[in-house]
């Protein structure tokens, strides 16, 4: 039993993920005391694509923890507090729409109350790009088990666009791409060797965002 557990844990560590992070800075940044940020997933209409809620939560949680932890307002709280301005039908699609939106006095006041300095829009998703193999399981009164081999490759591609709410301009973009292959051999028991592609993309994105916002590009 211990051997199988050890094998499983070792195998989990074996699945590799390649991550690439790129940054484009357009303006200086900085976080003062009392400033906060919000991470929002893109889900504008009529686009049918949405960034996964898990990914948005993961980036927000990572930004709010660690050495340079930022004050992060949760996406749902932000959308409730600014309703109806950031709903899928009404949210600004590009930066040109932000200054006009901020002309709404009540909205501008609410953003000030919340201390929102930067809006971070997340776009993208994780997709399975290929898969192969087969695995069969059977259960009968005499016993059960699985036999086979599965492999699949996931590709995560995300981009964060950061808007400054003070002047309604884009301060930069960060992209995080990750890919990895997962395996599942099965001889009686299936042993998943999972490449944590989305988690790696999230961790890389959050780390880069934190440096981008705090370090002022120096």
């Amino acid at each position: 039993m211990k051997f199988i557990l050890t094998l499983c844990i070792t195998c989990f560590l074996c699945a590799c993920v390649n991550t690439t992070v790129q940054e484009v800075r357009e303006r200086e940044t900085g976080i003062q005391a009392g400033d906060s940020v919000v991470v929002i997933g893109r889900n504008n209409r009529p686009s049918h694509e949405e960034t996964e809620i898990d990914f948005v939560d993961c980036v927000a949680k990572d930004l709010a923890s660690g050495g340079n932890a930022l004050a992060v307002v949760s996406e749902q709280d932000f959308k409730d507090q600014t309703f109806p301005w950031f709903e899928p039908r009404t949210a600004p699609v590009n930066i040109k729409e932000l200054p006009k939106l901020l002309e709404q006095r009540l909205l501008a006041d609410r953003l000030n109350e919340l201390g929102i300095k930067y809006l971070i829009w997340l776009d993208g998703k994780t997709q399975r790009t290929s898969s192969a193999g087969s695995l069969a399981c059977s259960v009968s009164p005499a016993g059960g088990g699985c036999f086979g081999f599965l492999t699949w490759e996931n590709d995560a591609s995300y981009e964060a666009t950061i808007w400054d709410t003070d002047d309604g301009k884009t301060v930069g973009r960060i992209s995080s791409d990750a890919d990895g292959t997962s395996y599942m051999p099965a001889i009686v028991l299936p042993i998943p060797i999972i490449a944590r592609v989305q988690n790696n993309a999230c961790a890389s994105m959050a780390k880069q965002l934190e440096e981008f916002l705090v370090n002022n590009g120096v």
Partner: protein, 266 residues
Amino acid sequence: MLKTAMWTQAPKNKKVTFRSAGAKLKSYATLAWTVFAVGCSGAQVSLDSQFPTPLLEPLPVHAGIVLTKDLLAYNHNEEIKGSGNFDINIGVAQRNMFSRLGEGLFSQYTLSEQLTYNENVDATLLPEITKMQISLPSQTRSEYFEVWMRYEFHFYDNEANLIGSWVLPAYGKANQNDYRGNGPALKAAALSACRDAMAFFSLNFQSNSVAQRWAAGEKGTPAATEPELAPIQEDGSTNESETTNAEENAAEEIDSAASSSTQQSS
């Protein structure tokens, strides 16, 4: 194979017989089949959610909002072949929705259950859900649960004379990968549709001509029963370009979806 199963499950110092192992496997298989069957047998959803108050300058109107028993009891039930029965109690959300809308849009509001002459209010609004439709990822070969709703808002003066009506389609979707099971995903899609209706209503209220006349204190006539259509401009578009296009698209989607599957609403 059996030896492995027994080896992994057998507590120390306890003898495991072939019969007991077989019985355990049978019960596990029954449990697994039950979980699988329940997972494929539709969903029952009650939208007992809280909604936010719109962040808008309230109009100086004391609005009466009539929430009829039909609206508060609105329940959408749909049998989808191969997927089971889907039941959404959306009526339970209406009181909170319209309370929040009343708070955000009007300086004062009063909820009631019947349309009557009421000298204490400036005008009366009566919302109605006229159509609702859902679609599952398996039907659309996408990752999304989708919900379409069509509201009809009837605007009355305080003497219960109709000024006009406003048809408002709403749409919500939820990615199945973000939720565990049909129920939570469908609930999220329905919640999103309700929020969409609130957002659409809030932001377009002041530009809708029937609502403008209603808010200005115009008196209605019993003959004014036709829903308002946005006037067509010279270029063929309507004067509410983005929202009206979205409105029309959603309306078309509701109609096409309604014709492609059966539904029972009560």
